[in-house]
């Protein structure tokens, strides 16, 4: 009982301290972002001949429903030196056919460097007019598909996005600003990924930001708000961003090759890659920066079915555990990694240890209450504390969203989100923690692609 109390107290204290610190940092980051948004050199440089060329890399596996819209949204980006490489990673549906028909692709000779290992290619298709290349290869998983695309890219910067992401038209311009500000030190940059369910998309562009009608998607909207406005914006200030979302991130190609590309040993490849970038620079004592743009730059479709969500969360849980094991050398050397360690390790510890601790805590609290070890009012008070504490962090994330340059200040949105912030504590959070724990328990398993079921983004007709 005493050990349990101590563990809960330590966990609560760590959670509270980290939450408070990250909130303060996130406020700083978002205020900075608003000031940066006043005017920027970036817009001038983007019109000049010195703008760096960027290749957008899109890994795709069974994405026939969304791939055309996604590629169209990338090609519509407001960026002058842009090329796109899509890797069709052994799709069993008509992904390749859709791409060939939609963009009038022609087969060409294979021109790939051998900087990174990947599964064999079947064919390469190109549309010279659009700057689009499609690699058709044997299935090897998302990391393998991206490694092949990195080999096909010839530009100094590469942008990794998911096939189901829809980008803001100036998303890439926003993301490249930190790279232009300090090109020597900035090795990667991530941005805010919003939930696209409920948004109106026309010609590959989000024309109206809305809220999802599906309760599961609403709960995930809250999770995205907390993750991107709270944790990641906060971690960016001390240069300790632990994860650049695979949905949309910009990287220096030479550094990606130096770190060996994306790892195939973990399903949390984006988490693993960001950690590798930190360690690579810190081990070599190189000045570096992993930057963050506190503006929604990209929208993604979240699962609306329990079965798909469960598979996704198990995958995330497994990925988190695998990354923790893979980077144990980072976690066990605080003196070597100093500031990055100070913020990343507690965040990772809470991410990995949080779900089992909360679930075990819940079960033990009920058991102790039943056998008479603890009075019921105390158990209820502890649960109530966790409910209001969680709600406090969520509402704090709302205020952070209000500070962002492209804020959504509707009353309905606020009311709906607040309602779901209360509701998520009664079942949803526990379920997600359980799935996370399930995933962690199967951390030895390495799967190729997650089973995401796409509905496709809302078309104007469907929306009306």
């Amino acid at each position: 009982m005493r050990i349990f109390t101590i563990v809960v107290a330590v966990y609560t204290a760590l959670y509270f301290t980290l939450g408070l610190t990250l909130y303060a940092f996130a406020v700083v980051e978002l205020l900075r972002a608003r000031r940066r948004a006043l005017r920027s050199h970036a817009r001038r440089i983007i019109r000049a001949p010195i703008v760096p060329a960027v290749t957008v890399l899109v890994p795709a596996h069974n994405e026939e429903l969304v791939i055309a819209e996604s590629v169209r949204s990338i090609l519509a980006l407001d960026y002058p030196k842009l090329s796109v490489v899509v890797t069709n990673d052994g799709s069993t549906d008509n992904t390749l056919g859709v791409l060939i028909d939609e963009f009038e692709l022609r087969p060409v000779a294979r021109e790939l460097t051998d900087d990174l290992p990947h599964e064999p290619l079947r064919a390469v298709y190109k549309s010279e007019d659009l700057g689009l290349t499609v690699l058709d290869k044997e299935q090897g998983g998302r990391s393998d598909a991206l490694n092949a695309a990195i080999c096909a890219a010839t530009t100094p910067l590469v942008c990794i996005i998911d096939a189901d992401s829809v980008l803001e038209q100036d998303g890439l311009t926003q993301l490249i600003v930190p790279m232009l500000e300090d090109p020597a030190a900035t090795i990667a940059c991530g941005g805010i990924v919003g939930v696209g369910n409920g948004c109106r998309i026309e010609r590959g562009q989000v024309v109206e930001v809305g809220l999802a009608r599906n309760p599961l998607a609403m709960f995930q909207t809250l999770e995205y708000l907390r993750a991107f406005f709270f944790a990641r914006a906060g971690l960016a200030v001390p240069n300790s961003l632990h994860l650049i979302s695979g949905a949309f991130g910009l990287f220096r190609r030479d550094v990606l090759i130096e770190v060996g590309g994306l790892g195939k040993e973990t399903v949390g490849e984006d988490f693993d890659l960001t950690m590798k970038l930190h360690r690579h620079a810190l081990d070599r004592k190189r000045p570096y920066r992993i930057a963050y743009v506190s503006t929604p730059v990209c929208w993604t479709e979240v699962p609306e079915r329990i079965r798909v969500l469960r598979a996704q969360r198990r995958r995330w849980g497994r990925g988190a555990a695998q990354v923790m094991v893979a980077h144990w050398a980072f976690a066990s050397h605080p003196a070597r990694y100093k500031r990055a360690w100070m913020f990343i390790v507690p965040t990772m510890a809470l991410k990995v240890a949080g779900p089992p601790l909360i679930l075990i805590g819940l079960v033990l609290a009920v058991i102790f209450a039943v056998i008479g070890g603890v009075a019921w009012p105390i158990v209820i008070a502890i649960l109530a504390f966790w409910l209001v504490f969680g709600l406090m962090l969520t509402v704090a994330a709302f205020t952070l969203e209000d500070l962002s340059p492209r804020r959504a200040l509707g009353w309905r949105r606020f009311g709906h989100l607040f309602l779901f912030a209360v509701l998520e504590n009664f079942g949803y959070r526990q379920l997600v923690d359980l799935w996370h724990l399930e995933g962690m328990l199967t951390y030895r398993r390495v799967a190729g692609w997650g089973a995401m079921e796409r509905a496709g983004f809302t078309s104007p007709a469907a929306h009306s």
């Binding site: 006043l38 232009l180 502890i382 606020f414």
Partner: protein
């Protein structure tokens, strides 16, 4: 038990504070947005007809909010204008004292305000702001120094450009700030940029300058 209840009470209090903050932000935003739209609807037609040489000088904005909106509309417009319309609009801003507002802001204690002021002065290309911008080349903040250098490059008055090479060479890193000054020099004073490329010891400055000059000739 009392500790837990106290913690709950604190959390509830903080939630109430956050909710109050969110509500007040929304109320204030609505009020400001409403006022901004109304003021824009008045200012925009006046400015557009004046710039097109069809209308009289717009009325001088008196209240602070009006001046802010006037500045915002004018600077948005300046970004898309070329001479002689640009000069007409700059004249208007000078006559209404809005250029001096920006010059005064160069002395603000907040770096982002000084930077924004320099950015606005770069848009106006007002020669009268050049002495103040040259003084600001010794600002303690590097971003402000570079923004002022860019404004001077945009203004393009010979005597004020002598100090630009030193500002560029002393920059701690070759980033967008330096590149932006070079772009302005390439557009407004290509001769100066060519001289800088010859004289500089920085390989990055020279190569970027030459690329920009090459593009300019094409």
């Amino acid at each position: 038990m009392s500790t837990i209840l106290a913690a709950i009470a604190v959390c509830v209090f903080v939630i109430a504070l956050f909710v109050a903050l969110a509500v007040s932000v929304r109320l204030e935003w609505r009020r400001e947005e409403h006022g901004r739209r109304r003021r824009r609807a008045e200012i925009e037609p006046q400015l557009y007809t004046y710039v097109a040489a069809d209308g009289p000088l717009p009325a001088r904005p008196k209240r602070r909010a009006e001046r802010r909106t006037f500045r915002a509309v004018a600077y948005e417009l300046l970004e898309s204008l070329d001479d002689p319309e640009r000069s007409r609009l700059t004249d208007c801003l000078e006559q209404h004292g809005l250029v001096w507002d920006a010059v005064r802001e160069l002395g603000s204690r907040f770096p982002y305000r000084r930077r924004r002021a320099a950015d606005e002065l770069a848009l106006t290309r007002s020669v009268r702001a050049a002495p103040a911008l040259r003084r600001a080349l010794s600002d303690r903040n590097e971003e402000v120094r570079l923004e002022c250098a860019r404004a001077l490059a945009e203004i393009g008055e010979g005597e004020y450009l002598d100090e630009l090479p030193a500002v560029l060479e002393q920059a701690s890193r070759f980033g967008s700030g330096v590149a932006s000054v070079l772009i302005s020099l390439a557009e407004r004073e290509p001769g100066r940029l060519a001289a800088l490329c010859e004289a500089t010891e920085s390989a990055e400055l020279r190569s970027t300058g030459l690329v920009l000059l090459g593009e300019g000739r094409q």
